[in-house]
Structures are given as C-alpha cells and as structure tokens.
C-alpha cells in the first residue's frame, strides 16, 4: 500500500479534564472508504473534531498528506484539503441551496473551479437542481444531507470526513445516502465515514474500525468484520 493520506498514531483526546479517546491509531489510504463505527458516546465525533482542528490532541500524532496537524484552526485544515460534513449538517439555513453549495468553494483555490464543480455536484445530486432557489432550512433531512455533501465537495478536497450522514433519515433515504457516498468514493476521493449505523457502513466501506468507550477494539476489511462474532452480537443484533 502507498503512503496513507491520513495517519493517526496513538492519539489521546478529551474535553476539559475528561479524557474520552485513548491511544487510537488509524489510517486512510489514498483511495479508500474507511468506516469508523461504535456506539453512543464512544468518541467517533471527537476523533473527527480533532482531525478538523476543532479540538487539539492531548497526545499522539495526526499526519495528513505528509503534514502534521494539531495547531491549525478548522478553516486552515479546510485549506489543506480536508472537507468535513459535520454532524447535524450545519447548513446556512437562510441561504438558498445554491448559495450554500457555491459557498463550499469559498477558498481561492476552490473558487477557480467553482463552475466546473457546481456542474459536477448537480450531476451527482440531480434532485437538488429543482431546489436550487429554495432556502436550505426548508428542505427535508435527506435533501439537507445531500446539500451538506455537495457543499463539502465544492472545496475540491483531498479527503472527506463524514459524521453520521444517516442520522435522522428514513431507512430508504439512508440507503440512498450510502449509495451516494460509495459513488463519491468511486471517484477516488478518500473518505473517513463515522456512523452508528454499523450494518450500512460495513456494506459500503473497504475497511472499518470499531471504537468502544474511546478505545479501538477491532479493525479489518469490512466484509470480514461483517462476519465477526463480536460485531454481529454487539452491533448487528444477530
């Protein structure tokens, strides 16, 4: 395998006095869709927050594209090429769908390719074309998720982080969103996908890590994990 785009080594993370992630190591290859799954409060979002610079690591190392992260602000991490589709989507509710998506190409490097990328995301999400002029806050949860992904892609990122894109969606929509994520991965974009919906993630990802109470307990190719007794028992309810 070539050098991974993201390599996290032995990181500790926490809030205030409270440590919630203990010595986690994981990596994402240049063309991989990697799942990070685990139950409520196991520390998945915390790991994504650390990669994006919302919190600083207590210890360990985060290396992205050959560069160590840890001191940069979130907007500087975005400029390095990491797009983050955050939990709850965090759209600009009083702007139109198109304004939201266009603003994804706010950074000067992305602005040059705005028109080209806009056409690309509309072909990925044709349903959004008719909603262009609607306020983002007025869309359904599934459509909002599409807008959030589209906005992130407008950055022209080197890597995509996604936090619970299926949260609050009807089962049919969950499937649709997962297919979209897979098709984005097929374009060669590396993705780290955080989800509680273990079954769906294992279906579409190449590899996955299982987090429990802030510690990694399992990792491996997704098809293998799907058959693992512990995963079956704890997360798939089989």
């Amino acid at each position: 395998m070539t050098e991974p785009i993201l390599k996290i080594t032995n990181v500790d993370l926490g809030y205030g006095e409270l440590k919630v992630v203990f010595g986690v190591s994981l990596e994402v290859g240049t063309h991989e869709l990697v799942g990070l799954v685990g139950g409520n409060g196991s520390g998945k979002s915390t790991i994504l927050r650390a990669i994006s610079g919302m919190i600083k690591p207590w210890g360990g190392q985060v290396i992205f594209d050959g560069q160590e992260l840890g001191v940069q602000k979130p907007h500087e991490i975005a400029a390095l090429g990491i797009a983050h589709v955050p939990m709850g989507r965090q759209l600009f509710a009083n702007m139109t769908v198109e304004e939201n998506i266009s603003l994804g190409a706010y950074l000067p490097s992305a602005r040059k390719k705005r028109a080209e990328n806009l056409a690309r995301v509309y072909s990925l999400f044709p349903d959004l074309i008719n909603k262009r002029k609607d306020l983002a806050g007025a869309l359904s949860g599934g459509q909002q998720q599409m807008v959030a992904i589209a906005r992130a892609l407008m950055l022209g990122p080197k890597m995509l982080l996604m936090d619970e894109p299926s949260l609050g969606l009807a089962p049919l929509l969950v499937k649709e969103v997962m297919q979209v994520i897979r098709s984005v991965a097929e374009t060669g974009l590396p993705i780290l996908l955080v989800e509680q919906n273990v079954q769906q993630v294992l279906k579409i990802s190449d590899r996955a890590y299982v987090l429990d109470n802030g510690k990694l307990v399992l990792s491996g190719p997704s098809p293998e994990l799907m058959g693992h007794p512990m995963v079956k028992k704890a997360y798939l309810g089989l």
Binding site: H75, L103, Y106, L155
Partner: protein, 294 residues
C-alpha cells in the same frame, strides 16, 4: 388640509431622523447577528463619530460631511483593533463575559472622551444648518436631506456587500452557522473583526450626521444612543438587520409624532413605550415570527 400637511411634515421629519437610528440599529444588529455579542458601547461609538467630526472641523476646518471620508476608515480600523483586543479572546466564552466586556468598553470610552473633551455640551455649527428646501407643501431641512442621502448610500452599499460579494456571503454564513462556515474555510474570527469594524463605521457615520443637529456630552449622549439602538433592534427583531431599518424609521416617526402631538419634553420616552409594547405583544420583533438572522 392644514392637518394633513402637518402630518406629512411630521412623517417626513420622523423618517429623516429615523434613518439615523436605522444606521445605528443596523450596526448593533449586525454585530449581534454575526458575533452573538450585545454591544453596550454602541452609543459611545456614535459619540466617537460626533467628536471626531468636531476634532476634524476644529483642526482642519473640514465640513462634517467631508470628514466622513477621514473618520470612517479610521473608525473601521478602531473597530477591528477593539474586537481583536477585547472580544476575540472571548469567542468561546459564555455570553455574559462578552456582555461585561462591552459594558467595560463603554465605561472606558465615556471616561476617555470626558477626560479629553470635558463635560460641557458640544455641537458643530455649519453655515447651512438652518437652510431648508420646500417640497410642495412641506419644508425639509437641508442637513437632514443630506443625512438621508448619506444613509441611503450606506445602507444600499451594505446590502450589496452582504448579498453580492464573496466576503459578504461569508459574513452571512458566519452569522447563520459559525461551525459550518469555519469548515468550508472561512476564517470566522476575521469575519467577527470585520463586522465589528462595520458596526463602528455605521455608528460613526450616524454620529457625524447628527452632530450639526444636537448637543453631545460624552457620558450622557452615549448611553442615550445605546438605549435607542436597543429599541431599534428589538423593534426590528434581534439580529435581523433589515428589520432594524424598519425599527429605526418607526422609532423616528414615533418620537416626532409624540413630540408634536403630546409633548416635546418626553421625546426620548415615546420610543421606550413602543419598545415595551413590542416586547409585550410581539417579542420576536415587528417583522416576522422567527429570529431571522442576517
């Protein structure tokens, strides 16, 4: 006919003074909408504008409306610096810390102005202060008309900036979702500084427009205008900057009508009555059910 003329005359006067209130309220609302900071020093920013016009007039004999060209850029820088020093470090702190910070800033500004200029009332006499223009049956004061024109230009400029320019969209994005903005590469702290600079510019413009029309004293005029700015902002809906324009115009009209039909002595009280009524009857502001941000 006479009654009608007086009403139109009063409405026109009210709208002209209300335009200045709108300028002040829009800045306060913008700061609140983007930064979630309640700026208790906003009226003192207006006073900074008044005294900068005085200083520029006394030192350079420059007409107050021309002094805008000097005072506004300097005011913008002052706003940036104040935000960087006082508010930026508090960005993730609870709301009451920023509240105390702007209260402290208000005290410092008032006392600094007091120290430099003393407590006696100041005004700026311009030769055309009493000039009027007759428009059909009503008579309008020239300085108020110039003020109206300046306000229109500033508000339209702000509108175009916020809706058309990339930086303006980044301001709106930051107001609507700071995390979302940061994650697409917007330096939201820089946006905060920018917005505070704009708030200062709008307040200073208002102060310069007002100083030929009234007497200012550092420690009294500031709080009066802070209060008026709050009234305007609440009338328009907190954080709704276009609502603040309506709120400002309404406050101007209410004051002038009250002064002319009830009593001039309670001029500053009519706005407060309107303020209480709105808080009681439509706490979300006059223009909408929800707190609509920038």
């Amino acid at each position: 006919m006479d009654i009608l003329t007086t009403i139109i005359q009063n409405l026109a006067n009210g709208l002209l003074i209300g335009g200045v209130y709108a300028l002040i309220g829009v800045g306060l609302s913008l700061i609140f909408g983007v930064m979630r900071v309640i700026n208790f020093a906003h009226g003192d920013f207006v006073v900074i504008g008044m005294y900068s016009a005085l200083v520029i007039y006394r030192q350079l004999s420059l007409d107050p409306y021309l002094s805008l060209l000097i005072a506004l850029p300097l005011g913008f820088l002052l706003g940036l610096v104040l935000e960087r020093i006082i508010l930026s470090p508090l960005v993730d702190a609870p709301e009451d810390s920023t509240l105390l910070a702007t209260l402290g800033l208000a005290l410092i500004l008032q006392n600094t102005l007091l120290l430099i200029f003393g407590a006696e009332p100041n005004s700026l006499y311009v030769s055309y202060a009493t000039a009027t223009i007759k428009l059909g049956p009503i008579t309008l004061s020239l300085i108020q008309l110039i003020a109206g024109a300046v306000i229109l230009v500033v508000i339209i400029g702000l509108y175009l900036f916020l809706t058309r320019s990339e930086a303006g969209k980044a301001v709106r994005a930051t107001a609507q979702n700071r995390l979302g903005a940061e994650l697409i590469g917007i330096n939201t702290l820089a946006i905060h500084s920018l917005v505070f600079g704009f708030g200062m510019v709008l307040a200073i413009a208002a102060g310069i427009i007002l100083i030929p029309q009234l007497f200012a004293t550092p420690a009294i005029t500031g709080p009066v205008f802070t209060l008026k700015a709050f009234v305007v902002t609440v009338l328009g809906g907190l954080g709704n900057i276009w609502g603040a324009i309506g709120g400002g115009l309404l406050l101007g009209v209410v004051e002038v009508l009250g002064a002319s039909y009830i009593s001039n002595s309670y001029r500053d009280a009519y706005g407060l009555v309107a303020f209480l009524l709105v808080l009681l009857l439509r706490p979300e502001g006059l223009f909408g059910k929800t707190v609509k941000r920038v």
